[in-house]
């Protein structure tokens, strides 16, 4: 943090429901301009997107009803860097297990994700997790009715697994290109290292001009948030 101030980056946090405020606070503390995203036009001009923890079914239904799902999918599949925590991992996955039938996703990660994989709230837990690419020792990790990655495609890098307990060895952190996801919630523990890693991903993507914030016209013609579908 003593390095010269890099170019400012603007990172959106999907703000339909969930622990949005915590993500905004961590990103702001790391020097990014953090903005809530609830409408298609608010995707324009962001260099990266965080998909927060919350209820994936609720977020998905709101995204469908407000016409945000299509523009979101287009943006992350078009190369917008993204970081998902818990429900955010579910939203980013290509394939879901134990989800209500037909629950759509953004399909940005070549993984199969099992919802509520560790069990109900009684099985929610905290632990320390070692993450590849995150120096400084294990992370504080809180898992709340969390999903895990059941299967990861060949282009997906496994960053971390649970150690110990009944779910020993399960995959809980992955990266594919500029898309990062964790089963747990770094935003709840004050450990900013995963967010710092993501801010770096966003900075590098923005620097080489790979960040396609939102395909042109994605905001236009989309239903407004009150629209019924």
């Amino acid at each position: 943090m003593s390095a010269p101030a890099p170019d400012p980056v603007r990172i959106g946090v999907l703000a339909l429901q969930g622990d949005v405020r915590e993500h905004l606070a961590v990103l702001t503390a790391l020097g990014a301009e953090a903005v809530p995203v609830r409408r298609p036009e608010e995707l324009a001009g962001v260099d990266g997107l965080v998909l927060p923890g919350g209820e994936s079914t609720t977020m998905t239904k709101l995204a469908v009803r407000t016409g945000l799902l299509g523009p979101l999918r287009e943006a992350v599949r078009g190369g917008l860097p993204a970081y998902g925590t818990c429900a955010g991992l579910v939203l980013l996955a290509e394939r879901l297990l134990d989800a209500p039938p037909g629950q759509p996703t953004l399909g940005a990660l070549d993984v199969t994700v099992r919802r509520n994989a560790f069990g109900r709230q009684a099985e929610s837990f905290e632990s320390r997790i070692e993450l590849a690419g995150v120096p400084g020792g294990p992370l504080s990790a809180v898992f709340i009715r969390a999903p895990w990655v059941e299967e990861a495609g060949p282009d997906v890098e496994v960053l971390g697994r649970v150690v110990g307990g009944p779910a020993d060895g399960r995959i809980v952190a992955v990266r594919q290109g500029d898309v990062v996801a964790t089963s747990f919630h770094p935003e709840l523990t004050g450990d900013t290292r995963v967010h710092a890693l993501f801010v770096d991903v966003v900075r590098q993507a923005a620097a080489v001009g790979r960040a396609v914030a939102v395909p042109s016209g994605a905001g236009a013609g989309a239903p407004d948030p009150g629209g019924e579908q």
Partner: protein, 303 residues
């Protein structure tokens, strides 16, 4: 200091962070009372972040009278099996065995609720003794902090459940927020007296004064019946909404439920609240709180 000094090295359940963490995930969402698996599915389809499983909604508890208790375990189980969102259930104030049963059933949150008939006139449940997290009602800051001291991992306003009248929820959310704002203006010496006046532990009072917020999530409950009610509660500073009788006692539950969900997300956008408020059909029939005899007021239960 290592950032994970207080985090266990191996998977550990039931910690304060894990209990409070689920409520953090529910923020910005709507938790709906349901009495059947079918209603639970309607609620989930409408976008509920969680459902509250109970045998009778508060409006029926009022109408039918008698002792209101924890729901039948089979009924709670049926709702757990019907949906993938978290399931909450109510235990009577002080009835720690009802809470033990609900924990054994696998519910995700226990609501120690004044809507049921209190089982103990002096003591609330020792909520630290449980792995399952608890939400409790509060009418003001002191009451909220006493519940948190007992282990509550989430606070909601009490409102006056089953009336369709939002006036009490407004009073409680305003009282909570005003109490928090006042603490933030006090110096260290004054906080000792504030703790005495609030009848709350000094360390919690200091924590709230420094953070400017409760250490747990604050929802609103009691009398919310329309999208505008929900949006008003969010603008007043609630972090989410419980809707009890307001949905399934209305003319078109599925549409009203979806409208309240949308109004909660877009609470600060009158255009959206207007749009989703159109064509909802009949809201639940309300009760004027002023005409309720004291014996039928739920908000005065608990202390």
């Amino acid at each position: 200091m290592s950032p994970h000094a207080d985090v266990p090295a191996t998977p550990t359940t039931g910690t304060d962070r894990v209990k409070r963490g689920l409520a953090e995930q529910l923020k910005g969402g709507v938790i709906m009372d349901v009495v059947t698996p079918e209603q639970a599915r309607i609620a989930e389809d409408a976008g509920a972040v969680a459902v509250m499983a109970l045998e009778r909604v508060p409006a029926d508890i009022r109408a039918q009278g008698g002792i209101a208790r924890m729901s039948d375990p089979d009924m709670v189980q049926g709702i757990i099996d019907a949906v993938s969102v978290p399931v909450m259930a109510k235990a009577r104030i002080g009835h720690f065995v009802e809470a033990q049963v609900l924990q054994a059933l696998g519910v995700d949150y226990v609501d120690e609720s004044e809507v049921l008939t209190p089982a103990d006139e002096a003591h609330h449940i020792d909520k630290h003794a449980f792995t399952v997290p608890f939400v409790c009602g509060a009418t003001d800051l002191g009451e909220a902090l006493r519940r948190i001291a007992e282990g509550a991992a989430m606070i909601r306003s009490k409102g006056e459940a089953g009336t369709g009248n939002v006036v009490e929820a407004t009073r409680h959310v305003r009282a909570l927020r005003a109490g928090i704002r006042r603490l933030a203006t006090l110096d260290e010496t004054e906080l000792f007296v504030a703790a005495k006046e609030l009848r709350a532990p000094h360390d919690l009072v200091v924590e709230v004064a420094r953070a400017g917020k409760l250490p747990v999530v604050l929802f609103t409950a009691g009398g919310i019946a329309t999208p505008a009610d929900a949006a008003m509660m969010m603008q007043l500073g609630a972090e989410g909404v419980f809707v009890g009788s307001g949905i399934f006692k209305s003319g078109d539950p599925a549409q009203r439920a979806a409208a309240i969900v949308q109004a909660t997300t877009f609470f600060d956008d009158p255009d959206v609240v207007t749009k989703v408020s159109r064509g909802l059909g009949e809201p639940m029939v309300g009760i004027n709180v002023d005409t309720l005899p004291d014996s039928q007021r739920f908000a005065t239960r608990g202390w």
